[in-house]
């Protein structure tokens, strides 16, 4: 039986840095989508909830806030199976603009699947907004339309990102270091 490890946190992005950048993203998205038709914000559960809520406060245009959840590799019974949607969007996205909100874009495996899946529903546009981007970890290339911060390859927590369900509710982003 493995011993539970202790961790320390080193702050990488402060609350203020995050709020400033999220506000900028909100303005950018407002500018790009104003008058462009219906917009669905599709936030990927569960990590992007904090980001989606904060971002939506800075949007000055009508939108539908919706959520989508997919099973993750290596956790629970899904380990031996294939990715599946655990909570689907409630909106019909056909002929609507969809903005996928993700907490972190690293390997690109999750978004690759989601993009393929959502594209089959004929949205009029589908773009990606990632709070964090770690291009060094990328396996599958994903076009990123909006990005909060680029980070090097570090294990980070906070602002929605967890480690075994811990640290999600931190208002900052920190590197998790094992002691």
């Amino acid at each position: 039986m493995k011993q539970k490890r202790e961790h320390s946190l080193e702050v990488l992005l402060t609350r203020e840095q995050i709020q400033t950048r999220v506000a900028q993203l909100g303005e950018e998205i407002t500018r790009d989508y104003k008058g462009a038709g219906e917009l669905v914000l599709a936030a990927v559960l569960r990590g992007s909830v904090y980001f989606a809520v904060d971002l939506s406060r800075h949007l000055d245009l009508p939108f539908i806030l919706d959520f989508i959840g997919i099973s993750s590799y290596g956790r629970g019974s899904a380990y031996e199976g294939i990715v599946r949607i655990t909570k689907d969007l409630e909106s019909n996205i056909a002929h609507k603009n969809v903005l996928l909100l993700e907490d972190i874009l690293d390997t690109g495996l999750t978004l690759n699947y989601l993009i393929r899946n959502l594209n089959t529903r004929n949205p009029s546009s589908l773009r990606v907004c990632a709070f964090l981007d770690m291009p060094a970890r990328r396996i599958v290339d994903i076009p990123v339309d909006y990005c909060g911060f680029n980070l090097p390859d570090l294990f980070v927590v906070g602002y929605g990102l967890d480690y075994h369900e811990r640290y999600r509710n931190l208002e900052f982003v920190a590197e998790l270091q094992e002691l």
Binding site: K2, S72, Y73, G74, R75, A78, E80, G81, I82, V83, D106, T107, L109, T110, N112, Y113, R116, A136, R137, R138, I139, V140, D141, D153, F155, H164
Partner: protein, 329 residues
Amino acid sequence: MAVVTISRHFGSGGEFVAQLVAEKMGYLLVNKAIIAKNMRSFGTYDPEMAYFDEKTVKLENGEKNLEMEQRRRNYLEGLHEFFYDMAIRENLVILGRGGQILFRDFPPSLHVKIMAPLQNRLARVSRLYHLDEAASARLISEQDRDREAYLRQVFGCNWLDPELYNLVINTGLTGLEESAAIIVKAAQLKEGAGEVPIQELEERLLEQQENTAAIHDASGTSPHFAHPSEAEFARMLDFYRIKWLYEPKTFPLEWDSEGAVTEAFSPDFYLPDQDLYLELTTQKQKLVWKKNKKIRRLKEIYPEVQIKIIYGRDYRGLLKKYGIEEEGE
């Protein structure tokens, strides 16, 4: 005994012509394999002979590596003694390695240069090694440069000097078998012999050549993973419904002077939808330099190929992200 030396531009078919000539005349073909095999018994074998064989001295920071230079000199002395020793006992067809200079004044000898227009060479190299035109052009240029430099450095001669040769044959205008027949006839005239020896080996040789080319394209699609990390990675790709193939292609990276592949690389995975190769390595960072070197070479020769390396720390990061314990941890 008689000696035929054949100098060749890379991709001109010179090796094949030499092989045909040796077969038709019943001479011993002295190529890299024969040299390696016989120099061992001759007592002058160097295990790093591939490093010296038809290669010039590379400068390190503008200076010669003196130890390597000494070994190279020993190797060359041994090689030349070996040639002379063999020529006393056997009729030889010597491929490259300055044979036209070493045996310039050897009475029953014929020195031949095989060349071909670049377009013909590009087509042959591209067909034999499954390379695109740009990669074939780079390979031809590298190999020709090495051979030209070798003659200049070792013998102080210009490789293209026509005075070094009895015959210069353009295989762009003369077929390979026709070229071989011309050389055989010329060698017989020089030797003063009459009858042409048996010439029934062309088909078997052609078949042999095709089989050799096919080995370069060898690929295995059966996923017998070499390492548990590859199996885990494949499961992850399956989970996210990413199509993959396991080691579907081998990329030749280095060739010896006779065009045989001496180094190749088979990336672990190919993702057809992304047109991307992935190499997974769980080795420690300080041990991956060889792999990095191979991948740099692959990118040089095949710039159109997209390849990514997933290093040990990236892989362990993935396992951590997905909450998986690493095997053996």
